[in-house]
């Protein structure tokens, strides 16, 4: 895992890392990825594609509107919210 990849992940996750941390992270991430690679050694030939870990089927909810009473809670933590809109730096 190279420095560029780490920086990209940092950007996507919106986190800052010190130079020391940037040194440490690649080996840690590789350990995680290698651990997940263990899963590939399992024989899954008898498992249906898309089969989930749940043995239950999905519960469905009725088609009745329930409005959320406190929309302010959803907007007050947004980095920028005004004129009724969430705002981000321009993307186009």
């Amino acid at each position: 895992m190279d420095k560029k990849t780490i920086e990209k992940i940092m950007h996507l996750a919106r986190i800052e890392l010190t130079d020391d941390e940037k040194q440490e992270i690649p080996s840690q991430m590789e350990k995680i990825i290698n651990y997940i690679d263990n899963l590939n050694t399992l024989d899954t030939s008898g498992v249906l594609k898309g089969e989930a870990v749940f043995l239950k089927e999905m519960m469905l909810q009725p088609d009745r509107v329930e409005t959320f009473p406190d929309i302010g809670l959803l907007t007050e933590n947004a980095p920028s919210f005004s004129e009724g809109f969430f705002k981000v730096k321009k993307v186009l």
Partner: protein, 479 residues
């Protein structure tokens, strides 16, 4: 693209909004037109710790749509996370279906050809972005609204066929009452993949994806443009880039949007928050039984049972409400066999013409189908002429009265008594001796003005064919 050495291959991905009360994974209202960000909750804004629960009605409507499109419903289907980073998506993934979609293997008949539908799956809509000069505004009201995506096989061979396919698809979804499918309002959206390959080759060429087409006409124009663009590049020996292109309606061209290589790894995986969706066979059968008669079968029935021509049958079935209007009126015809053609032409020309000029549709017209049937009955029985029927129709439309009442109140019924007609004809001849003489010397064309005289005298109420016959009879007797 005529006489081209390339052939066109098109696949369409169509998104249609389902007509439910609530969004797909929460109970927020599923509607448009509200103030921005007033129809949102912790689930559809992707707050940490929230859990999605699928809405039953969305599932039922999706099954209904898939059945109407002749698909096989999968008993088990799985919701997956489609990852991408864009502000219209607060969770950074969209819940969609991938490996195991709700339904597969359907088809639509368009222009006499069966076009295969690979899959119909469910997914949530994203929010709406408003791009300003310095910032982007986000409205999550639409975020989480229930959609079905209908993916055709790459079997469409021309822009015209693509448009035909879309019209058929829209018609079926509207008939099944699962979606309004209004392209201009965004409740039906279409993305198209198009590639060219040499006619003698069976290997598909590199495709581009075209987005941002807001009408059937736009789809046709965009795809025609894109096919020409690709052809020119290929003829110059250049390569086609696999990319997404946006249709620019104002300038009639497509323009590259982003390169696919990086953008297209969505890293799908089953959403651990949602167990598999199970749709029982009994539910499928129940929905199958409740499906309305679809246009293809209606058209066949109109042609077979009622003896209507194919063109008229198709026009009658364009909209579900129109077909219902026709069937309702048909049931009230006195002589169904003789009246049906007149009825269908009255609906397809007079009524639809009137609706067009007044900007109405079958959902909001005030005219009762029974009244139109009555009008046709009056014409059929000879009580009124076709010309009078048009005047009566105007009054019916404006004053919402039934034709019988109008005829009685205004004394409009057609004069078709033998004696009365004869009297009128004799007077016409007496008052127009010049015309009558010309007729007797062989200029039979003068019968027209004589008929016209009688019609004018009776303000259109005489039966014109009877007048014509009677005039000839009298004049021929003088020869």
């Amino acid at each position: 693209m005529k006489n081209s050495k390339y052939k066109i291959t098109i696949g369409l991905e169509v998104h249609a909004h389902l007509k439910t009360q609530t969004k797909l994974f929460c109970r927020c209202p599923n509607r448009t037109g509200a103030e921005p960000n007033t129809l949102i909750c912790p689930v559809c804004t992707g707050q940490p710790g929230t859990l999605p629960v699928a809405g039953e009605e969305s599932v039922l409507q999706a099954v209904r749509a898939a059945l109407a499109l002749n698909c096989k419903i999968n008993k088990y289907s799985v919701f997956e996370r489609k990852q991408y980073f864009y502000p219209d998506l607060p969770k950074n993934y969209q819940i969609s279906q991938y490996k195991l979609p709700l339904a597969e293997n359907g088809y639509i008949e368009a222009g006499g050809v069966k076009i295969k539908i690979d899959r119909v799956h469910m997914e949530e809509d994203a929010g709406k972005l408003v791009h300003r000069k310095s910032e982007t505004l986000i409205d999550y009201n639409r975020g989480g609204a229930p959609l079905i995506e209908i993916v055709s096989a790459p079997e469409i061979t021309s822009p015209e066929q693509a448009s035909e396919y879309l019209k058929k698809l829209r018609q079926i979804l509207v008939y099944s009452s699962v979606s309004d499918c209004d392209m201009e309002k965004g409740s039906m959206r279409c993305d198209a993949n198009l590639s060219l390959n040499l006619k003698e080759s069976s290997r598909l060429g590199v495709k581009t994806e075209v987005k941002n087409m807001n009408s059937f006409k736009a789809v046709e124009n965009a795809l025609s443009y894109e096919a020409r663009r690709q052809e020119e590049l290929l003829l110059e020996g250049k390569k086609i880039d696999q990319e997404t292109r946006l249709w620019d309606e104002n300038n009639n061209r497509t323009a590259g949007m982003r390169s696919k290589e990086e953008a297209h790894d969505y890293r799908y995986f089953p959403d651990p928050d949602l167990p598999p969706l199970v749709v029982q066979e009994t539910v499928v059968e129940e929905i199958r039984k409740s499906l309305p008669e679809l246009p293809a079968s209606k058209i066949e029935r109109y042609m077979g049972e009622m003896g209507i021509g194919e063109y008229d049958a198709r026009v009658l079935c364009q909209e579900k409400e129109g077909a219902e209007f026709f069937e309702n009126a048909y049931s009230k015809l006195e002589d169904k066999k003789k009246g049906v053609k007149k009825l269908s032409s009255w609906i397809n020309t007079e009524l639809k013409g009137k609706m067009n000029t007044e900007g109405m549709d079958f959902k909001n017209i005030q005219l009762d189908p029974g009244s139109l049937a009555e009008l046709v009955n009056l014409i059929q029985s000879g009580k009124i002429s076709g010309k009078m029927a048009k005047d009566i129709f105007e009054i019916m439309w404006n004053e919402k009265k039934c034709p019988q009442e109008i005829v009685e109140k205004r004394g409009l019924s057609q004069i078709s008594g033998e004696d009365k007609i004869e009297g009128l004809c004799r007077r016409a001849i007496e008052e127009n001796p010049g015309l009558a003489e010309k007729y007797l010397t062989g200029k039979e064309g003068t019968i027209g003005p004589l008929v016209g005289f009688v019609m004018k005298e009776t303000r259109g109420q005489a039966n014109p064919s009877m007048v014509n016959k009677k005039l000839r009879q009298i004049l021929d007797g003088k020869k």
